[in-house]
């Protein structure tokens, strides 16, 4: 009797909504309306009548303190009682329409899925790691509105022995069932918020590792880009080891025929080919170091060969052997990247400046300087 009375009210109050969403008349359209959170949210107080305290949005607000207190499974219990799926204390006012009037088979499905949801919520209450790892089936109570022919609204699609075809139920059952599902859908979604934030942060770090590797790592020729795709690595992570293969580069480098005399370093155009080598990346792929076999072709004096040490922060340095130097004699040679040279030159200049300042301070006040420990 209660259900029938409420059904009549639903049909009249949802008429405006049906016009709004442009749907054809009938129980199927009522299911689209009752299971659509936006349409429900658009109902006025007078249209809601005794349901005003039981909209998904009202219940979300009502249970906010409980959510803050972490009483997630208790909220699920309360929702089940409010909608008449479980017995409730006499003092607790429930929804005007009840899930108790649903066929047994439908109620059994609801109870089973509710139990599973409660178990997941309870696990998170016992163990915060479970919650942070997203062990909650957010989609369990997601309504499925099929908008192309044949139109229908369903719940628990793909969850045996479901689904429940909501649009095939009598009008009087639509509101309690839809709003119950929408409320629990919100509950499960809100519970999973911290896990989604943690996942987004972890995936952002992975994307940053790729940015570091691809944009700030040691440059790759097309061949190296291809070959390094086959280096061992965890799924969807950049490789820790980068193979250098026939890597050619040309440009100004600091070159010296006498490796032990740093003041003979001169900027020279040098073609460098690294036939093979290996680099290792550290941490978040912001830095790397490694070693490569190098062939250098300075603009004069012929080929030199040797080993090149790389470091992402300061550049590279090579000790080379030249069979035929500029004067025709064989011997060692030194090759520094401009970055490394500037780094070393900068360090030397800084040391000289400190020394100069220190000496002038001493000269200005010799007794104090001598007395200084």
């Amino acid at each position: 009797m209660r259900a029938r009375r409420w059904r009549a009210r639903t049909c009249s109050c949802s008429a405006a909504l049906l016009l709004t969403i442009g749907a054809s008349a009938g129980g199927q359209s009522a299911a689209f309306t009752e299971c659509n959170a936006d349409a429900v949210g658009g109902l006025t107080k007078s249209e809601l009548g005794p349901w005003v305290a039981f909209t998904p949005e009202s219940l979300k607000r009502r249970f906010e303190p409980a959510r803050r207190a972490g009483a997630w499974s208790a909220i699920a219990d309360s929702v089940a009682m409010l909608f008449g799926l479980e017995a409730r204390p006499a003092a607790l006012a429930g929804t005007p329409g009840s899930l108790a009037t649903l066929p047994d088979s439908v109620r059994a499905l609801l109870v089973a899925e509710l139990d599973s949801l409660r178990a997941e919520l309870a696990e998170g209450e016992r163990d915060s790691v479970a919650r942070l790892n997203g062990r909650i089936t957010t989609k369990r109570f997601a309504v499925e509105p099929r908008l192309v022919a044949p139109q229908r609204v369903s719940l628990f699609v793909g969850r045996p022995p479901g689904p429940i075809v909501i649009s095939a139920l009598p009008d009087g059952d639509l509101r309690p069932l839809c709003w119950f599902a929408l409320t629990l859908n919100d509950l499960a979604t809100l519970y999973g918020g911290s896990a989604r934030a943690a996942l987004a942060a972890a995936l952002a770090k992975r994307a940053a590792r790729w940015d570091n590797f691809m944009q700030h790592g040691y440059s790759m020729t097309p061949l190296e880009l291809f070959v390094n795709g086959y280096m061992p690595r965890p799924e969807l992570e950049p490789p820790r080891l980068q193979l250098v293969l026939f890597h050619a580069s040309a440009g100004a480098e600091m070159f010296s025929d006498r490796p032990l005399a740093a003041n003979t370093l001169r900027a020279k155009p040098v073609l460098v080919v690294e036939p093979v080598g290996l680099l290792r990346y550290f941490g978040q792929f912001k830095s790397y170091s490694g070693v490569t076999w190098v062939l250098a072709f300075p603009d004069s004096g012929g080929l030199a060969t040797g080993v090149m040490l790389h470091h992402s922060d300061i550049g590279h340095v090579s000790y080379l052997w030249r069979p035929h130097g500029e004067d025709g004699a064989s011997g060692g040679a030194l090759l520094l990247s401009m970055d490394l040279y500037r780094y070393l030159a900068g360090a030397a200049d800084k040391w000289k400046q400190l020394k100069r300042e220190s000496v002038s301070q001493c000269l200005a006040d010799a007794p104090a300087c001598v007395a200084r420990p």
């Binding site: 929408l182 989604r196 934030a197 790729w210």
Partner: protein
Amino acid sequence: MTKVLVVVHGMGEHAHGWSADVVAKLDAVAAQYPAFKTGPRFSKRLTIEEIVYDDVFANIVSTWNRDAGALDAWAKGAGRSLPKLASWLRSPLPADTTGFFWTTAIDPLLYRGFHLVRDDVRAQVTKQVADIAMRAMRAGAAEISVLAHSLGTAVMHDSLDVLGRKPFERNEALTAARWQFANLFMLADVCQLARNLVADINYFDSIVRPTSAGSANDTYCQFFLNAWHRFDPFVLMAPFRPVTWGDNYIPIGPLEHFHSANVHGYTHYLDHPLVHVPIINGALGAPLISDAEQAKVLASYPVTQSVGCETQIAAVIQKAKELANAADLEEAVIGISEFLAVAQRSADACKALASKDMFV
């Protein structure tokens, strides 16, 4: 409830903000129907989010310096000579054709040919999807739909599979067993293109399927829409037509309209009522446009509005048929460049086939 439409681009140059033309098109087509004659336009009734991954390709192409020699060297070094592509690039080609190669057609080559590029794209896209999901569900449940086009369909097939197939660092929040998209709308789905080069995902059996194709634990969306055009050479090269996915798989095609010289275009697909009506209704989660209203618009929707462009249309169809017979990725990449150039020339010759958004 928050409703989100995530738009994903295809081949070609796409910087942040690229989706403006797509959103404008959706607003324009929605405005034909009574539900949108008053009230907010379509894009104001939900949240639009865009995915951008083109910067991964752009960075690489800029280092290659648009050099055919670099491409050739890679191909030879990789033991997979690309003689057809290399000699084609070295032949005297019209500037528009080589332009389309370096800005557009090279994208599938990079995505399918280089594991590092592919995985970088997947990592960037999964990160963006997770960000969108986190934002959308901050205040409660959300319905998130994806609208992807061309290469973007393959990227989304792949990225969603790696996002939803298993937990990442033990986090299950967005796995298929735990969460799902409302709709995946795929326009010109090319996931099967050069499938032999990336055999890590079986697209017919991945989690990127509608619930009717499996169980709630191994499917990632409620509905999967797949739209294709009879003369779209990209989908003809490697058709993707699942037949065992149940009735939540919604195939739409073959479409036959010819309102733009680029029948592969994003907005050209969206222009068709058979395509945009389920997208608009699905993204908003309500039957805002009825079957009768759709039928009325369809009845007056011409196959082509381009009277006097028959020669140009014939040229586009001819090139599309040639491309549909491409034997491999190499021929496909050449064909894509040539097809787009033919489309551009057809639009130049017959303005009725042109639109400012034809290459979005």
